[in-house]
């Protein structure tokens, strides 16, 4: 299980990266992250929403209400151009950390 601090730090890049794959909504984002991490990244679910709202305030993502298949209203989020740029920066930073650790642990340097 990933530590509290690391989860808090990685939330923004994770959310931005999920949304880079296409429009999504809160529950689906959580499910996707849980599945991709094999259950290692376990968020306390309600906390995602304030993070999403903060990203929207920073204009990194936009939100819009739509009807879901079940007929209920659902809030969908989409990455903006600014968000895309921010994601690239975050990606470089995370890769820098990752590469350093990988080299220290005797692994291969990442290709990008």
């Amino acid at each position: 299980m990933v530590s509290r601090e690391l989860i808090a730090a990685s939330t923004r890049p994770l959310v931005l990266s999920v949304l880079a794959r296409g429009e999504s909504y809160g529950y689906a984002i959580i499910r996707q992250v849980r599945e991709l991490s094999g259950g290692e990244l376990e968020w306390s679910e309600g906390m995602l929403y304030p993070v999403l709202h903060r990203l929207a305030k920073e204009k990194l993502i936009t939100a819009s209400w739509k009807r879901s298949d079940s007929g209920r209203k659902r809030k969908y989020y989409r990455l903006t151009k600014t968000g895309n740029r921010r994601l690239k920066i975050e990606r470089q930073q995370w890769l820098a950390v990752h590469e350093t650790l990988a080299l220290l642990w005797g692994g291969q340097k990442c290709s990008n």
Partner: protein
């Protein structure tokens, strides 16, 4: 017998308390709840179990209210209500202690004045420690205990101010009256009223404390503690 509609209503009203979660936020959380429950019910959990698991995964209403407050802010009225009792208590403490000490200073002999000055310095040192160690106190003993200590200190200061008044008047009464009996009577008459206001202030501080917001890191995993 478990009634889903009622359980959801209770959960919603708990979240809306304090006004930090907007109806729009609530609609989003409710949609999340429904979807999470549906998934759990497909895994053979009954309605009640699904509701309990889903709401606990979402996080406790108190933590959610605090977390949303970081983004939405606290309504102005509530913010005022939070600070008003503190401001009032601090004002009351300083307006009792400062004149009380000055009066006592005049009434005392030179040796007594030195002792009074030392006592005042010690009292201020406690205040300094309370302010300096606030965060450590909160981390070690919990916010409620830390708040209780600060409130207790302020109330003790107010009472100390009153004691200074009374003692100064008592000492002065041996000599021609400088401040008069009226000051003593006013001081004594004020006390029950002050105690009532202090009680109200403490009650408001206790009730408001929960929605207090601090600049901490993303609380995304607070519930998992």
């Amino acid at each position: 017998m478990f009634e889903l509609k009622k359980a959801i209503e209770n959960w919603q009203s708990d979240l809306l308390r304090g006004g930090t979660i907007t109806p729009e936020d609530l609609a989003e959380l409710e949609e999340h709840l429904h979807e999470s429950m549906m998934e759990l019910q497909e895994k053979d959990l009954n309605e009640q179990e699904a509701f309990l698991v889903s709401t606990s995964r979402l996080g406790s209403p108190a933590v959610l209210r605090r977390e949303f407050a970081k983004t939405n802010g606290i309504p102005v009225g509530r913010r005022l209500l939070f600070w008003a009792p503190w401001v009032y208590l601090i004002w009351m403490a300083s307006s009792r202690l400062v004149p009380g000490i000055l009066m006592l200073f005049q009434a005392l002999s030179p040796a007594g004045r030195v002792q009074l000055a030392l006592g005042t310095v010690c009292w201020m040192a406690i205040l300094y420690l309370l302010i300096r160690n606030r965060k450590r106190d909160e981390a070690r003993h919990g916010r409620e205990v830390a708040t209780f200590r600060r409130v207790a200190y302020i109330i003790a200061t107010i009472l100390l101010g009153h004691v200074c008044f009374v003692v100064a008047n008592f000492l002065q009464s041996a000599r021609p009256f400088e401040y008069g009996k009226s000051a003593l009577l006013a001081g004594a008459g004020e006390l029950p009223f002050n105690l009532l206001v202090i009680t109200i202030c403490v009650a408001v501080i206790y009730l408001m404390d929960e929605t207090r917001v601090r600049d901490t890191e993303d609380g995304l995993t607070q519930v998992t503690e």
